[in-house]
Symmetry: D3
Subunit: 227 residues, 6 copies
């Protein structure tokens, strides 16, 4: 947050198995498994529907209207990473397009999460390189002011340390601190384990009121039925 | 609007034939047929394109970050209903996901209209359960504060009484008071009756200026053509 | 901007070959080719994905909640035109739907760009008539107050003169002044000429840092690497 | 909500003593006294600070960019009324200025609450005529399309029937249904009765934790203190 | 709009008497006098209440997060000017503070209108240098990318040519093209001439319905009174 | 960010002299002194103009529509603290009013910074207890769901650790990490030291172009003057 003009080359990435495993649960389950925290703001939307990824964060802090540091962060990408780009201020310019995506993809990045704008969205979809962004914008950027790479950043309201796990899908983007990746994976798996049984019950017409034993608490809270 | 902690079990639903029939006309035609009123705000968007539904409203008033009452309203759903969820304040949390959708669908609900957030959107699309919402959000909710079921609510700027007809499609969401359902159906049908002829004329190159006899009124209003 | 109640019938359209040619480059490349100017605000979105058009602007200035002038502008459309509709104030009503689209299409219009709302979006997609708008809204409009046709307008933050070239795609909407259409076409072509080579290099793993010789300037700007 | 082109001349106003009495409690206390409901959206702000009013609602529904019905509602104002102006769509134009304020004030209106824009704000402050609005705008309006007077309206998310009590201050705008005015006044008075004692305790350093006996419930909810 | 990196030194300013005279009428009257056009968006607000100015525009186009060109425009200011700063994209950074204000004031500028952020607002109020801005922000800016000075710009939705008249007050900001300054001044004066008489009538209880002879047109439009 | 239901009682506050000293420089200077970082979003506004404070942060994380933890944090306040309240989601309810302010003030708090709503604003101004908030709202809250106290939080886009220095004034809110308080104070002092000289020069008519030696760099960047 507070150092400009620096690039940290050595970061501790979350356990790879955990980082990979969290992806299949999706952002909603992962965020619940952490205790209902860790989500980015809802204005972060995928540029195309259906992508679901997880990976380890490499972070970058950008200046408004300036994408210079996206070239710097490219060199720090390792296979399995997701680039998380924060900004020093609100700005929707098109910091990222198909050329940078080609480079990121070549380095092994799985996705970009950017609290700014993105362009060439049709080409990105054809390439299969998903982006979660605050805007789509054809607006170009300059390359003249330094930001930083692999410092902790606040992206769309979420604190992201380099190496944290990023889980992104159609519902949004969740961040799991690297140290919590393993326990969160277990909690997510446990949470999903009995979802099938619940779904079957609800599909058969059983009410959540009964399945979750809510009638007592509701009555105690004062709920009144009127015919 | 003004009673918290109550569930009205007996509501007078709009005539079923009218409620069903209005769906095929869509929100734009229905709103015109009522005299250009009855629409929700434009921030209400379908979570996937192409759904077009109508049905009778069961209403629920939710507290911010709390989806307890969605379980309560589930029990009041009858086949052909559309659940309309209003909030006591602006909040985009993910009140609704695939488990509740399974339950609503099992009860015969056709859709949810919610002035809050929705999650599990990919699964909802696979299930064919359409939702119109103000946001998509992975954010979970608690179950601790009472709202109400089947009271009149204001949802996204529109007043909805239980039993009113809800018409929703890619253009938005329209509400038809139960007592006006029949006449609105007739007016919508009349409105559409001559659309085909109009469309054919316009497609052949006839101008709306002539088809609607606008040249006189435009001249009278002072319109000047400059070569 | 400053004349209400007038329709200019004779406008100087940009060179047709240039207007047509610019479309294939898309809004991002065209805006870069002009020196990174000329874009509308990012809230302007296509009502369906995948459309990419260019054409010469016929402009119209609308009053809030009033689409009367869209019928007036229809008569001024020539094949290859794109209608650009500005408003005298912020308003998201559904000024445009399938009937007007039928008329516009019959006159040879390629698209509509409107700083207001649009409805009948499913039918418009079936017709293949693309619209870039600030909102989707079922709300109908009246026909009672004059605006103007073919005066210079500000639409979504961009100045548009009648006859200018409009380039619109999934990334947004760019405006090229008629007098700059030819040189912009050349600049866009030049810009794209070496994109293939760049893309191939980046795909092979070459970094932008090296391809664009950024390491020196970054060091000079003070960038520090920390291991 | 659903009738355009009508003016109801005879409305049942809330009890005058209750309507007058509620004003001194302010919007926050009144909304609490009703059970935490009845507030307009937070975007409704006073055009100048410090005004605090209450009165009986006369309602008007306006079309976008059109203030014709404000002249119609003026005739229906009685001393002690507050005019509540709703719109059929989102619009921030300057529907109301010093001339209309002069007329409203002459009729005995205490304030205007409008889900649109207001202008001449300096003069209105000099006149001592308070307005709560969604925007300040110099934009003028036309007089050409009918709305309605004294029908139920939704204004800034709140349902308002003619005759309801409007309570407005620096914190916002609350609506009390006419039938609840008396009981709400009593509840508000009861609520305020022991505020002085509470304030004195808190000022002396007693904590809300103790004054409200929250330590037990917090512990039961699982709160942990870490040294 | 379309030239970056240029400074026009010789601009034709509107007639000084007209530019000065328009100020006393305020933005609402001036905008009406032009035919209800020429206003900036309502998000432009004064940093302190009560200022009312007019003057001739010197324009500047800024890049996001970069205030370099504000130093360039300072040199082009002449006494009686108002600086109008547009941006190439949406950005709320604090481009302007007390040091630049000191310089602008020393050059004779009367105000700044900026489609971005402003800081040091307390000091600016003490200095008596009014600013209309889209935001207040402590965020600093860099000086590294060129924009332009005295080209036509779009600022907050309004087209401004260098030399146009700017009229700003608590209601907003209006732009009068230089060539229309004289006639607009006359029209504004004519408009205000009989406002006193109107106000007196309305204050005495005469209704706008009668003063403007609206009863006939309302009846013709179909307005119905219901007792 | 990631622990719910905990209260840290022992936090390391920034050096008191530094925390106190930073206040007089204001948010803009302090943010510049840190290298142009550390600001909250511009939507955070003071509820009344003119307050300027600094102090050490005690932090609290709140759930939407629930102010229970504000009572918990009250006990952790020490004289000279500023309470920083973050939320788990966007919510504008009125979490804070005059009773809590009385308690906070009694404990020695200097201000509240809250990424939610505030009410009783007139009374708070009379009490001299400043609040920076995202909204003013009369909406009440419940007390039923745990958050946390004195964990790191993201408030309005800024990362805040307990013990950090908060600097707030009319321009916004800046956060200085506790470990940087001393050096930031020095840097701020150094920055202000020659502001007086600069101001005098600019007031005498010297241009920033000359005072900052910008003419060369501007020419090198390609700026062209056109007569």
């Amino acid at each position: 947050m507070f150092e400009l003009g620096v690039v940290y080359r050595n970061i501790r990435r979350a356990d790879k198995a955990a980082a990979d495993g969290l992806g299949k649960f999706g952002s909603a389950t992962v965020h619940e498994a952490m205790g209902r925290v860790g989500l980015m703001k809802t204005y972060m939307r995928p540029i195309y529907a259906g992508a679901q990824v997880s990976g380890t964060a490499v972070t970058v802090l950008l200046q408004p209207g300036d994408n210079w540091m996206l070239h710097v962060v490219a060199e720090q990408i390792q296979p399995g990473d997701v680039v998380v780009a924060a900004l020093t201020t609100d700005n929707t310019d098109g910091f990222f397009g198909d050329l940078l995506a080609t480079s990121f993809q070549a380095r092994g990045a799985r996705a970009l999460v950017i609290d700014g704008g993105c362009r060439d969205v049709r080409t990105l979809q054809e390439m299969g390189f998903p982006v979660w962004s605050r805007a789509i914008s054809a607006k170009g950027t300059v390359k003249s002011t330094l930001g930083s790479v692999n410092i902790p950043v606040v992206c769309a309201g979420a604190l992201v340390h380099p190496g944290d796990v990023v889980v992104a899908d159609d519902d949004g983007v969740a961040i799991v601190p690297a140290a919590m990746a393993g326990t969160t994976l277990e909690a997510a798996a446990a949470r999903e384990a009995n979802e099938g049984a619940k779904r079957a019950k609800l599909a058969s017409g059983v009410l959540g009121l009964d399945m979750y034993s809510m009638r007592g608490p509701l009555e105690q809270a004062g709920l009144k039925y009127i015919d």
